[in-house]
Protein backbone atom coordinates (compact mmCIF):
# COMPACT_ATOMS: atom_id res chain seq x y z
CA UNK A 1 0.00 0.00 0.00
CA UNK A 2 1.40 3.39 -1.01
CA UNK A 3 1.09 5.99 1.76
CA UNK A 4 2.68 8.96 0.02
CA UNK A 5 3.97 9.66 -3.44
CA UNK A 6 5.17 12.55 -5.55
CA UNK A 7 5.13 12.78 -9.32
CA UNK A 8 7.28 15.32 -11.13
CA UNK A 9 6.95 17.63 -8.12
CA UNK A 10 8.42 21.11 -8.48
CA UNK A 11 8.29 24.41 -6.67
CA UNK A 12 9.74 27.76 -7.60
CA UNK A 13 9.98 31.01 -5.66
CA UNK A 14 9.95 33.88 -8.12
CA UNK A 15 11.99 32.67 -11.11
CA UNK A 16 14.11 30.26 -9.10
CA UNK A 17 13.26 26.57 -9.01
CA UNK A 18 13.97 25.21 -5.54
CA UNK A 19 12.94 21.65 -6.34
CA UNK A 20 12.14 20.13 -9.70
CA UNK A 21 11.12 16.73 -11.09
CA UNK A 22 10.96 15.11 -7.66
CA UNK A 23 9.58 11.58 -7.62
CA UNK A 24 9.17 9.16 -4.73
CA UNK A 25 6.82 6.57 -3.32
CA UNK A 26 6.50 5.61 0.33
CA UNK A 27 5.08 2.42 1.79
CA UNK A 28 4.64 1.28 5.41
CA UNK A 29 7.92 1.12 7.36
CA UNK A 30 9.76 3.21 4.75
CA UNK A 31 11.90 6.01 6.17
CA UNK A 32 12.98 8.31 3.36
CA UNK A 33 15.90 10.54 4.33
CA UNK A 34 15.87 13.85 2.49
CA UNK A 35 19.33 15.35 2.58
CA UNK A 36 20.97 18.31 0.89
CA UNK A 37 22.64 21.62 1.55
CA UNK A 38 20.84 24.57 3.10
CA UNK A 39 18.35 25.97 0.61
CA UNK A 40 18.19 22.75 -1.41
CA UNK A 41 14.44 22.49 -0.82
CA UNK A 42 14.11 19.81 1.90
CA UNK A 43 11.72 21.87 4.03
CA UNK A 44 9.84 22.98 0.93
CA UNK A 45 9.06 19.36 0.02
CA UNK A 46 7.69 18.71 3.51
CA UNK A 47 5.66 21.92 3.51
CA UNK A 48 4.07 20.98 0.19
CA UNK A 49 3.12 17.55 1.51
CA UNK A 50 1.72 19.13 4.70
CA UNK A 51 -0.44 21.49 2.65
CA UNK A 52 1.37 24.64 3.73
CA UNK A 53 2.68 25.38 0.22
CA UNK A 54 1.31 24.51 -3.18
CA UNK A 55 3.54 22.90 -5.80
CA UNK A 56 4.38 24.91 -8.93
CA UNK A 57 4.25 21.75 -11.03
CA UNK A 58 3.58 18.06 -10.64
CA UNK A 59 1.33 16.37 -8.13
CA UNK A 60 1.45 14.38 -4.92
CA UNK A 61 -0.68 12.10 -2.84
CA UNK A 62 -0.52 11.57 0.89
CA UNK A 63 -2.51 9.57 3.42
CA UNK A 64 -5.12 11.81 4.98
CA UNK A 65 -3.80 11.08 8.45
CA UNK A 66 -0.32 12.56 8.61
CA UNK A 67 1.78 14.26 11.27
CA UNK A 68 4.10 17.20 10.68
CA UNK A 69 6.88 18.55 12.85
CA UNK A 70 9.45 21.13 11.83
CA UNK A 71 12.17 23.16 13.46
CA UNK A 72 10.54 26.44 12.37
CA UNK A 73 7.04 25.39 13.44
CA UNK A 74 6.02 27.46 16.45
CA UNK A 75 3.75 26.37 19.31
CA UNK A 76 1.33 28.59 21.25
CA UNK A 77 3.29 30.34 24.02
CA UNK A 78 0.19 30.93 26.18
CA UNK A 79 -0.97 27.29 26.16
CA UNK A 80 0.43 24.47 28.28
CA UNK A 81 1.69 21.20 26.80
CA UNK A 82 -1.52 19.49 27.92
CA UNK A 83 -3.71 22.22 26.39
CA UNK A 84 -1.88 21.85 23.06
CA UNK A 85 -2.68 18.15 23.00
CA UNK A 86 -6.27 18.68 24.14
CA UNK A 87 -6.80 21.26 21.40
CA UNK A 88 -5.33 19.08 18.66
CA UNK A 89 -7.28 16.04 19.91
CA UNK A 90 -10.54 17.96 19.64
CA UNK A 91 -9.91 19.15 16.08
CA UNK A 92 -8.58 15.76 15.00
CA UNK A 93 -11.37 13.81 16.63
CA UNK A 94 -9.01 11.49 18.50
CA UNK A 95 -8.14 10.72 22.16
CA UNK A 96 -5.73 13.31 23.61
CA UNK A 97 -3.22 10.76 25.06
CA UNK A 98 -1.52 13.73 26.73
CA UNK A 99 -0.02 11.85 29.71
CA UNK A 100 1.10 8.89 27.62
CA UNK A 101 2.72 10.97 24.86
CA UNK A 102 4.44 13.48 27.11
CA UNK A 103 5.81 10.66 29.27
CA UNK A 104 7.04 8.87 26.15
CA UNK A 105 8.87 12.02 25.05
CA UNK A 106 10.18 12.94 28.50
CA UNK A 107 7.96 15.98 29.03
CA UNK A 108 5.83 14.64 31.88
CA UNK A 109 7.17 17.20 34.37
CA UNK A 110 6.28 20.08 32.08
CA UNK A 111 2.78 18.90 31.23
CA UNK A 112 1.09 21.92 32.85
CA UNK A 113 3.82 24.40 31.99
CA UNK A 114 3.18 27.02 29.31
CA UNK A 115 5.02 26.42 26.04
CA UNK A 116 6.33 29.99 26.16
CA UNK A 117 8.54 28.89 29.06
CA UNK A 118 9.88 25.84 27.18
CA UNK A 119 13.42 25.45 25.88
CA UNK A 120 13.91 24.78 22.15
CA UNK A 121 14.38 21.09 22.88
CA UNK A 122 11.19 20.88 24.94
CA UNK A 123 9.27 22.59 22.15
CA UNK A 124 10.70 20.05 19.69
CA UNK A 125 9.41 17.22 21.91
CA UNK A 126 5.97 18.82 22.15
CA UNK A 127 5.83 19.14 18.35
CA UNK A 128 6.71 15.46 18.04
CA UNK A 129 3.91 14.60 20.48
CA UNK A 130 1.48 16.65 18.38
CA UNK A 131 2.70 14.94 15.20
CA UNK A 132 2.10 11.40 16.45
CA UNK A 133 -0.96 11.98 18.66
CA UNK A 134 -3.56 10.80 16.13
CA UNK A 135 -1.52 7.72 15.12
CA UNK A 136 -0.78 8.99 11.61
CA UNK A 137 0.01 6.86 8.57
CA UNK A 138 2.75 9.25 7.44
CA UNK A 139 5.18 11.34 9.48
CA UNK A 140 6.76 14.43 7.96
CA UNK A 141 9.73 15.42 10.11
CA UNK A 142 11.91 18.42 9.33
CA UNK A 143 15.18 18.41 11.30
CA UNK A 144 13.54 16.52 14.21
CA UNK A 145 16.75 15.91 16.15
CA UNK A 146 18.36 19.33 15.66
CA UNK A 147 17.31 20.70 19.05
CA UNK A 148 17.15 17.45 21.00
CA UNK A 149 19.55 16.36 23.75
CA UNK A 150 20.72 12.78 24.12
CA UNK A 151 17.58 11.62 25.93
CA UNK A 152 15.41 13.36 23.35
CA UNK A 153 17.28 11.68 20.49
CA UNK A 154 16.77 8.33 22.17
CA UNK A 155 13.04 9.03 22.51
CA UNK A 156 12.95 9.97 18.82
CA UNK A 157 14.80 6.78 17.88
CA UNK A 158 12.32 4.67 19.89
CA UNK A 159 9.41 6.50 18.33
CA UNK A 160 10.68 5.88 14.79
CA UNK A 161 11.46 2.26 15.56
CA UNK A 162 7.91 1.60 16.77
CA UNK A 163 6.26 3.62 14.00
CA UNK A 164 4.52 1.42 11.45
CA UNK A 165 3.70 4.02 8.82
CA UNK A 166 5.97 5.85 6.40
CA UNK A 167 8.37 8.61 7.38
CA UNK A 168 9.80 11.46 5.34
CA UNK A 169 12.69 12.89 7.28
CA UNK A 170 14.56 16.00 6.16
CA UNK A 171 17.88 16.35 7.91
CA UNK A 172 21.41 17.64 7.87
CA UNK A 173 22.45 15.60 10.90
CA UNK A 174 24.72 12.65 10.05
CA UNK A 175 23.38 10.87 13.14
CA UNK A 176 19.92 10.69 11.56
CA UNK A 177 21.33 8.50 8.80
CA UNK A 178 20.72 5.42 10.98
CA UNK A 179 16.95 5.90 10.68
CA UNK A 180 16.78 5.83 6.89
CA UNK A 181 15.72 2.90 4.76
CA UNK A 182 15.70 5.07 1.62
CA UNK A 183 17.65 8.18 0.70
CA UNK A 184 17.16 11.16 -1.55
CA UNK A 185 19.81 13.86 -1.91
CA UNK A 186 18.57 17.23 -3.14
CA UNK A 187 21.04 19.42 -4.97
Amino acid sequence: MVLAQAQNLGRKFGDRWVIRRLEFELRPRDVLLLTGNNGSGKSTVLKILAGLLSPSEGSFQIAQRFGYSALDLAVYPALTAREHLLFSAKVRNCPDRADELLRQLGLQRAIDQRAGEFSTGMRARLKLALAIQHKPDVLLLDEPSAALDEAGQEALANLLEEFEGAVLLATNEKEDGRFGTLGLHLS
Partner: protein, 240 residues
Protein backbone atom coordinates in the same frame (compact mmCIF):
# COMPACT_ATOMS: atom_id res chain seq x y z
CA UNK B 1 -3.89 15.58 -6.03
CA UNK B 2 -5.88 13.23 -3.86
CA UNK B 3 -5.88 11.56 -0.51
CA UNK B 4 -4.69 7.98 -0.41
CA UNK B 5 -6.69 6.95 2.68
CA UNK B 6 -9.96 8.86 2.55
CA UNK B 7 -11.60 6.67 5.20
CA UNK B 8 -10.33 8.85 8.07
CA UNK B 9 -11.85 12.24 8.71
CA UNK B 10 -11.14 15.20 10.96
CA UNK B 11 -13.59 16.32 13.64
CA UNK B 12 -16.95 17.73 12.51
CA UNK B 13 -16.94 21.40 11.51
CA UNK B 14 -18.71 22.57 14.66
CA UNK B 15 -16.35 20.67 16.98
CA UNK B 16 -13.39 22.31 15.27
CA UNK B 17 -15.01 25.74 15.66
CA UNK B 18 -15.58 25.04 19.37
CA UNK B 19 -11.98 23.91 19.84
CA UNK B 20 -10.57 27.00 18.11
CA UNK B 21 -12.93 29.21 20.13
CA UNK B 22 -11.75 27.61 23.40
CA UNK B 23 -8.07 27.97 22.43
CA UNK B 24 -8.51 31.63 21.47
CA UNK B 25 -10.54 32.39 24.57
CA UNK B 26 -7.91 30.87 26.90
CA UNK B 27 -5.16 32.78 25.08
CA UNK B 28 -7.10 36.05 25.19
CA UNK B 29 -7.98 35.71 28.87
CA UNK B 30 -4.34 34.99 29.73
CA UNK B 31 -2.88 37.92 27.78
CA UNK B 32 -5.95 40.23 27.88
CA UNK B 33 -4.09 42.30 25.31
CA UNK B 34 -6.97 42.91 22.90
CA UNK B 35 -9.57 43.67 25.59
CA UNK B 36 -7.08 45.90 27.42
CA UNK B 37 -6.15 47.97 24.34
CA UNK B 38 -9.77 48.33 23.20
CA UNK B 39 -11.01 49.12 26.70
CA UNK B 40 -8.27 51.64 27.40
CA UNK B 41 -9.02 53.53 24.19
CA UNK B 42 -12.76 53.49 24.91
CA UNK B 43 -12.45 54.62 28.53
CA UNK B 44 -10.02 57.42 27.56
CA UNK B 45 -12.40 58.60 24.84
CA UNK B 46 -15.39 58.59 27.22
CA UNK B 47 -13.49 60.50 29.92
CA UNK B 48 -12.30 63.06 27.36
CA UNK B 49 -15.89 63.54 26.27
CA UNK B 50 -17.07 63.98 29.86
CA UNK B 51 -14.66 66.91 30.24
CA UNK B 52 -15.51 68.30 26.79
CA UNK B 53 -19.27 68.18 27.42
CA UNK B 54 -19.06 69.71 30.92
CA UNK B 55 -20.79 72.92 29.84
CA UNK B 56 -23.07 71.59 27.10
CA UNK B 57 -25.00 68.40 26.46
CA UNK B 58 -24.47 66.85 23.00
CA UNK B 59 -27.56 66.43 20.83
CA UNK B 60 -28.91 62.85 20.46
CA UNK B 61 -27.47 62.58 16.94
CA UNK B 62 -24.06 63.90 17.97
CA UNK B 63 -24.02 61.58 21.00
CA UNK B 64 -24.90 58.65 18.72
CA UNK B 65 -22.13 59.62 16.27
CA UNK B 66 -19.51 59.87 18.99
CA UNK B 67 -20.50 56.52 20.53
CA UNK B 68 -20.43 54.81 17.11
CA UNK B 69 -16.93 56.16 16.42
CA UNK B 70 -15.69 55.08 19.87
CA UNK B 71 -17.03 51.54 19.35
CA UNK B 72 -15.63 51.32 15.82
CA UNK B 73 -12.10 52.41 16.68
CA UNK B 74 -12.11 50.42 19.88
CA UNK B 75 -12.83 47.23 17.90
CA UNK B 76 -10.39 48.19 15.13
CA UNK B 77 -7.56 48.62 17.65
CA UNK B 78 -7.77 45.28 19.36
CA UNK B 79 -9.42 42.81 17.14
CA UNK B 80 -7.50 42.02 13.92
CA UNK B 81 -4.74 40.98 16.33
CA UNK B 82 -6.38 37.57 16.76
CA UNK B 83 -5.50 36.75 13.16
CA UNK B 84 -2.38 38.83 12.69
CA UNK B 85 -0.71 37.66 15.92
CA UNK B 86 -1.03 34.08 14.70
CA UNK B 87 1.28 34.98 11.79
CA UNK B 88 3.55 37.16 13.94
CA UNK B 89 4.18 34.47 16.55
CA UNK B 90 4.64 32.02 13.64
CA UNK B 91 1.95 29.64 14.90
CA UNK B 92 -0.17 29.93 11.76
CA UNK B 93 1.45 26.87 10.15
CA UNK B 94 0.58 24.79 13.22
CA UNK B 95 -3.00 26.00 13.06
CA UNK B 96 -3.23 25.15 9.35
CA UNK B 97 -1.77 21.68 9.89
CA UNK B 98 -4.29 20.94 12.64
CA UNK B 99 -7.49 22.74 11.66
CA UNK B 100 -9.43 23.26 8.45
CA UNK B 101 -9.30 26.93 7.37
CA UNK B 102 -13.09 27.45 7.57
CA UNK B 103 -13.53 26.44 11.23
CA UNK B 104 -10.28 28.23 12.15
CA UNK B 105 -11.66 31.45 10.69
CA UNK B 106 -15.08 31.02 12.26
CA UNK B 107 -13.76 30.14 15.72
CA UNK B 108 -11.51 33.19 15.77
CA UNK B 109 -14.28 35.43 14.47
CA UNK B 110 -16.63 34.25 17.23
CA UNK B 111 -14.07 35.17 19.90
CA UNK B 112 -13.66 38.53 18.19
CA UNK B 113 -17.42 39.13 18.26
CA UNK B 114 -17.72 38.13 21.92
CA UNK B 115 -14.83 40.39 23.01
CA UNK B 116 -16.17 43.25 20.86
CA UNK B 117 -19.61 42.80 22.43
CA UNK B 118 -18.19 42.70 25.96
CA UNK B 119 -16.14 45.89 25.54
CA UNK B 120 -19.02 47.44 23.57
CA UNK B 121 -21.57 46.85 26.33
CA UNK B 122 -19.27 48.16 29.06
CA UNK B 123 -18.17 51.23 27.09
CA UNK B 124 -21.73 52.11 26.05
CA UNK B 125 -22.97 51.87 29.63
CA UNK B 126 -20.06 53.98 30.85
CA UNK B 127 -20.70 56.51 28.09
CA UNK B 128 -24.42 56.90 28.83
CA UNK B 129 -23.90 57.13 32.60
CA UNK B 130 -20.88 59.46 32.60
CA UNK B 131 -21.95 61.83 29.82
CA UNK B 132 -25.55 61.77 31.06
CA UNK B 133 -27.27 61.03 27.74
CA UNK B 134 -30.97 60.28 28.25
CA UNK B 135 -31.92 57.00 26.56
CA UNK B 136 -35.46 57.02 25.13
CA UNK B 137 -35.55 53.35 24.15
CA UNK B 138 -33.36 50.94 26.11
CA UNK B 139 -34.28 47.88 23.96
CA UNK B 140 -33.24 49.75 20.82
CA UNK B 141 -30.07 51.00 22.53
CA UNK B 142 -28.92 47.52 23.60
CA UNK B 143 -30.13 46.01 20.31
CA UNK B 144 -28.01 48.54 18.40
CA UNK B 145 -24.94 47.80 20.52
CA UNK B 146 -25.44 44.04 20.01
CA UNK B 147 -25.75 44.15 16.21
CA UNK B 148 -23.00 46.75 15.92
CA UNK B 149 -20.66 44.50 17.94
CA UNK B 150 -21.51 41.54 15.72
CA UNK B 151 -20.99 43.47 12.48
CA UNK B 152 -17.85 45.27 13.69
CA UNK B 153 -16.36 42.00 14.92
CA UNK B 154 -17.21 40.27 11.63
CA UNK B 155 -15.80 43.06 9.45
CA UNK B 156 -12.50 43.57 11.29
CA UNK B 157 -12.03 39.79 11.46
CA UNK B 158 -12.63 39.58 7.73
CA UNK B 159 -10.11 42.35 7.11
CA UNK B 160 -7.56 40.86 9.55
CA UNK B 161 -7.84 37.44 7.93
CA UNK B 162 -7.49 38.79 4.39
CA UNK B 163 -4.23 40.64 5.07
CA UNK B 164 -2.58 37.84 7.01
CA UNK B 165 0.28 37.22 4.60
CA UNK B 166 0.91 40.87 3.77
CA UNK B 167 4.06 42.72 4.83
CA UNK B 168 2.45 45.73 6.53
CA UNK B 169 -0.52 43.88 8.04
CA UNK B 170 -1.67 46.32 10.70
CA UNK B 171 -2.00 49.31 8.39
CA UNK B 172 -3.49 47.17 5.64
CA UNK B 173 -6.06 45.61 8.00
CA UNK B 174 -7.39 49.07 8.87
CA UNK B 175 -7.44 50.12 5.20
CA UNK B 176 -9.25 46.95 4.10
CA UNK B 177 -11.78 47.27 6.95
CA UNK B 178 -12.68 50.89 6.14
CA UNK B 179 -15.14 50.18 3.28
CA UNK B 180 -17.11 47.93 5.66
CA UNK B 181 -16.81 50.26 8.63
CA UNK B 182 -18.07 53.48 6.99
CA UNK B 183 -21.59 52.16 6.25
CA UNK B 184 -21.65 50.48 9.67
CA UNK B 185 -20.86 53.76 11.42
CA UNK B 186 -23.53 55.55 9.37
CA UNK B 187 -26.18 52.95 10.20
CA UNK B 188 -24.99 52.85 13.83
CA UNK B 189 -25.54 56.61 14.10
CA UNK B 190 -29.09 56.15 12.76
CA UNK B 191 -29.91 53.32 15.17
CA UNK B 192 -28.34 54.86 18.28
CA UNK B 193 -29.70 58.31 17.38
CA UNK B 194 -33.22 56.88 17.42
CA UNK B 195 -32.48 55.19 20.76
CA UNK B 196 -31.42 58.61 22.13
CA UNK B 197 -34.63 60.20 20.84
CA UNK B 198 -33.67 61.57 17.41
CA UNK B 199 -36.15 60.26 14.86
CA UNK B 200 -38.61 57.40 14.98
CA UNK B 201 -37.86 54.19 16.86
CA UNK B 202 -39.00 52.09 13.89
CA UNK B 203 -36.29 53.74 11.74
CA UNK B 204 -33.76 52.80 14.40
CA UNK B 205 -34.84 49.14 14.25
CA UNK B 206 -34.60 49.28 10.45
CA UNK B 207 -30.99 50.42 10.79
CA UNK B 208 -30.37 47.59 13.25
CA UNK B 209 -31.68 45.09 10.72
CA UNK B 210 -29.40 46.51 8.02
CA UNK B 211 -26.38 46.28 10.36
CA UNK B 212 -27.33 42.71 11.23
CA UNK B 213 -27.67 41.84 7.53
CA UNK B 214 -24.22 43.21 6.78
CA UNK B 215 -22.70 41.34 9.72
CA UNK B 216 -24.30 38.06 8.67
CA UNK B 217 -23.14 38.53 5.06
CA UNK B 218 -19.55 39.05 6.21
CA UNK B 219 -19.80 36.05 8.53
CA UNK B 220 -21.02 33.88 5.67
CA UNK B 221 -18.51 35.24 3.17
CA UNK B 222 -15.48 34.72 5.42
CA UNK B 223 -15.24 30.92 5.55
CA UNK B 224 -15.82 30.74 1.78
CA UNK B 225 -13.28 33.37 0.74
CA UNK B 226 -10.59 33.49 3.41
CA UNK B 227 -9.17 29.92 3.08
CA UNK B 228 -8.22 30.53 -0.55
CA UNK B 229 -6.34 33.65 0.48
CA UNK B 230 -4.66 32.11 3.51
CA UNK B 231 -2.78 29.30 1.86
CA UNK B 232 -2.30 28.34 -1.77
CA UNK B 233 -2.20 24.73 -0.55
CA UNK B 234 -5.78 24.90 0.66
CA UNK B 235 -6.85 22.23 -1.83
CA UNK B 236 -4.74 19.73 0.14
CA UNK B 237 -6.60 16.46 0.87
CA UNK B 238 -6.61 17.26 4.61
CA UNK B 239 -8.26 20.60 3.94
CA UNK B 240 -11.00 19.62 1.52
Amino acid sequence: MASISPETSPAPWLSQVRAVFAKEWITEMRSRHGIFVSGLFGVTAVIALVFASYTFKPSPLLAAGILSVILTFSSLLGVPRLFISEEEQRTFDLLMVLVDPGPAYFGKTLVTIVTTALTGFLLSLLYVVMVGIPVESWPLFWGSILVLSLALGASVSFAGALVLGAANRWVLAAAVAMPFLFPLVAMGVGALGAAFGDGRESDGWRNCLAILGMGVCLLALGPALVPTVWRPGSNHPRKK
